[in-house]
């Protein structure tokens, strides 16, 4: 039982660290703001959540201490990190950052153009 839990703790923490590493590789190697943000806000969120879960399990099994702040941290991170990614992307789009030159679809530009035409007609 104890060996299994130890294995689980190690698995969670190593997986989380690996996901954070993959996220940082994504931030370096991907071509534009939007794809980089995609890598950072998804992979790093899951990575940090797994590390926190591993920490929680460690203190729970070895010291019998239920640290509710870690659970709160997991829930908080799960809610806030995608929102911050969304806000950064939105700010980048609204201040006119170009998409990668090989991307082929931009639905939001057409939507904005349509809304602009409609408001000028009214």
């Amino acid at each position: 039982m104890n060996v299994l839990v130890n294995f689980l703790i190690g698995f969670f923490i190593l997986c989380g660290a690996l996901l954070c590493l993959i996220a940082s590789f994504g931030v370096i190697r991907l071509p534009d703001v939007y794809t980089r943000n995609h890598a950072a806000s998804k992979a790093a969120t899951l990575g940090v959540m797994l590390i926190l879960l591993g920490t929680f399990l460690y203190f729970f099994t070895l010291e019998g201490h239920v640290n509710s702040r870690l659970i709160l941290g997991i829930a908080f991170l799960f809610m806030t990190s995608p929102i911050s990614g969304h806000l950064i992307n939105r700010a980048a789009y609204n201040s006119g950052v170009k998409l990668w030159d090989q991307s082929i679809r931009d639905d939001l530009r057409e939507y904005n153009k349509k809304m602009l035409n409609k408001s000028s007609v009214d």
């Binding site: 702040r69 709160l72 829930a75 908080f76 809610m79 806030t80 929102i83 969304h86 806000l87 939105r90």
Partner: protein, 141 residues
């Protein structure tokens, strides 16, 4: 009626504010036995109000929380000086604190300490000063 600027942020904020304010109160009350206390609790409450300011604008926040933060600072200083000077009435030096165990019906045995009231003063002063600084910078035109 104001138009919502960013629906995702405003909807999430309604849930997140409870988390942040609850955690700041926890940190404030746990300050005697664990890391925390008035300063960091006050900063975190001010952070929650700043998050509200980021999401809405100054006028809306002033409507939600009709508080003059300069008065909050004054009340905090009054609390701290009052608990410190209260010791003089009992012929003990300034800033002497007392604590006692009280049996409360629902909550059980509570160890009440006058240092908590001093800490409450610190909490109010930190909120008041931080919000005054941020609001004076934000209102500048």
């Amino acid at each position: 009626m104001r138009q919502p600027n960013n629906m995702i942020l405003e909807t999430a904020l309604k849930l997140l504010l409870f988390f942040i304010v609850l955690f700041s109160i926890y940190i404030f009350t746990a300050g005697h036995y664990y890391p925390g206390g008035g300063f960091i609790g006050g900063l975190m409450t001010a952070g929650a109000i700043v998050l509200l300011l980021i999401t809405y604008d100054i006028k809306t926040v002033q409507k939600i929380l009709p508080v003059d933060y300069r008065i909050v600072t004054a009340i905090g200083l009054l609390f701290s000086i009052g608990t410190s000077a209260g010791a003089l009435f009992f012929n003990v030096p300034f800033l002497t604190h007392v604590f006692t165990h009280v049996e409360v019906p629902v909550l059980g045995d509570l160890a009440l300490h006058t240092a908590t009231i001093f800490d409450l003063g610190v909490y109010f002063v930190v909120i008041g000063v931080t919000m005054t600084i941020i609001l004076t910078i934000g209102e500048d035109e």
